[in-house]
Point group: C2
Chain length 359, copies 2
DNA sequence: TTGTACGCGTTATCAA
DNA sequence: TTGATAACGCGTACAA
């Protein structure tokens, strides 16, 4: 009986509530907003009336006075991709805990579409804008805007802007340190598209740690594409040139899956003979791999949360600038671990060591 | 020079434009909205002033008059999952072509969180609501609401509501017809979680076609989980019980990947000996498979578009009800094709037919 | 052709 | 403690 059949289509207004409670709109407003200047009995009557009409205040009307709409615009360039989604979740998470809502637009990597959406969002008087890129490389910023803007995942190339990005160098470092701790010393790198700055950053992290340890990289990093197929091909190349390799650092989980498949099919044991690491910690790939894949989690949700936090701060006047780097973390799984011989010596790959399949 | 340094932080209002153009707000409004009751020269002056102040009308204020906010609320239950995203894209697509914006909320499968978000969205005076489920089974509807609601992917179990879903029976039919056309006659089914209605629907589609063709299913459908691991295990079960199977229909691309891996590793050629199909056409899995995977594309974006279209119609008063079923389509790839012997006769699996790897 | 005045739903100020 | 009123930004009758 909460909503009788005759419910009006138009949502109840404050006047409706006031009329039903037999008070003025001012008193109704005060009652509902917890103001102290109203008698308890009156407030109860108003609250009851509001309940009865299932009244919910019109946030839009409120905006006219406050100057804040309580919304932020989120423009993504990669809605179908897997990277922007966690960022978006983090932002929605941060916003949802407060009382701001997220207006979502997909610009699909098109600058014109982005411009169009930004204008539409400004027309809706969003309090701020969050721009989520499709790939982690820096991008040209939007022009001067009447509201604060934060760039997530793909930073603005203007250091005066606010940006939040993942830490790819650290990702490389964590992987290298982990492999050293596992006793690996002949470590090769197989990664993706060389036009991605992130690919180079991750390699730089690996290289720095290995150089410091006096171990060095085994061979030169192989750049290709972010695909399983390239992972298989690259693994073959690495094994041909460096048959004694004992670890392969992969630039993505996809590549790592390809590397794993090639290793298994050519009779190498993972991790006994060769350890393998991925990047992105995309669980759908990492957990279904054989063995399960050690990977780097970039904490994209945290990127989204921090970007949102930065934006909320800026909206309240505490504007900052520069690029904030969110640390990543290593997620160790079965694809890394101690070597079969426990040391750093040379060991020829096993011959027909077919892995057990289907019990 | 579009935005001089002294740009006021507060966005320009119609009064600002009117003042700068030396006219009244009414005239400014008419000029900007293309009304005919204004002199060309005056209009030009207003437009110029608006341009100069980079004026964009406050859509929220407009709402107070029109009664429409030009927004819809989109509540998803599976933001991290892969199914709701395409639906969301389709909805955003349909909305973006018009002038409505999408307010996004993630309820994460929690009914309370859903209720909370719905109330918040109603407070923002959304013109309609779209609820995207996490899995395709019917769900309990929201209560009576002052705005139209459409359920996407997961339908409401009340036939009086509007819902848009994928066609799982058709998906099964398409796969079965395709395999028959490829000359397969001993067709087994391996699928996922038996608590999913979709799993049963797909099986029903396969069964119907095979029964009609007088071929019948080979063995009983195997239910398990939507994982690669189950795909591998299930393939082993099928081969043990029915060594002469010549096609395995998989309930998802994940399962199909597992099936493919097991077949390859036990020396079966795909598709020469056994054809394999997936479901979902998740390209990241289907295109990286060896061989590339024939799959069913459920056209989730179309689900989103139709749901949005239905919602827009309802907002304009053309309310409908019932569940709309979006047809899916088969995407044939290398994992299906003619049998090695071109016929339906029995053929024992090859022995050590190791597939070529790494050239 | 242009301007004045009102109302949309809400909050805040001030007077009663 | 309560109520009348102004204001937010815009569109639109209606008057000039």
């Amino acid at each position: 009986m909460t909503t009788p059949a005759g419910t009006p289509r138009r949502p109840a207004t404050l006047s409706d509530v006031a009329r039903l409670a037999g008070v003025s709109v001012a008193t109704a407003s005060k009652s509902l907003n917890g103001r102290q200047q109203v008698r308890a009995e009156t407030r109860a009557r108003v609250l009851s009336a509001a309940e009865q009409l299932s009244f919910s205040p019109n946030v839009l009307a409120r905006h006219l006075l406050s100057g804040r709409s309580g919304t932020i615009g989120l423009v993504t360039h990669d809605l179908e991709g897997r990277f922007s989604i966690p960022v978006l979740m983090g932002a929605e998470d941060a916003a949802g805990t407060g009382k701001t809502s997220v207006l979502l637009c997909d610009a699909r990597g098109d600058a014109l579409r982005e411009q169009y959406h930004v204008q539409a969002l400004l027309g809706r008087r969003v309090d701020g804008l969050m721009i989520v890129g499709a790939r982690p490389d820096p991008r040209a910023p939007l022009g001067e805007l009447p509201v604060p803007v934060v760039y997530a995942y793909a930073p603005s190339d203007d250091p005066a802007d606010m940006s939040v990005v993942t830490d790819n160098v650290l990702g490389g470092r964590l992987v290298a340190e982990h492999l050293l701790a596992c006793g690996r010393t002949r470590i090769a790198v197989v990664t993706g598209d060389a036009t991605y700055g992130a690919a180079h950053d991750r390699v730089a992290g690996v290289r720095a740690v290995l150089d410091d340890a006096g171990v060095g990289l085994t061979g030169e990093p192989l750049y290709g594409s972010w695909s399983e197929e390239w992972g298989r091909a690259a693994a073959a190349l690495v094994l041909a040139q460096h048959p004694d390799v004992d670890a392969i650092v992969s630039g993505s989980d996809h590549i790592a899956r390809g590397v794993l498949d090639h290793l298994r099919e050519t009779g190498r044991r993972v991790p006994e003979d060769v350890a393998v690491t991925g990047h992105d910690n995309w669980e759908i790939l990492a957990l279904n791999a054989r063995p399960q894949l050690t990977s780097v989690d970039m904490d994209l949700e945290e990127v989204g949360r921090r970007a949102a936090a930065l934006l909320f701060d800026a909206i309240e006047g505490r504007v900052r600038s520069g690029t904030e780097v969110v640390p990543c973390r290593l997620v160790p799984r079965a694809s890394t671990g101690p070597r079969a011989d426990g040391g750093g010596g040379h060991r020829s790959p096993p011959g027909q060591d077919v892995p057990s399949v289907s019990g």
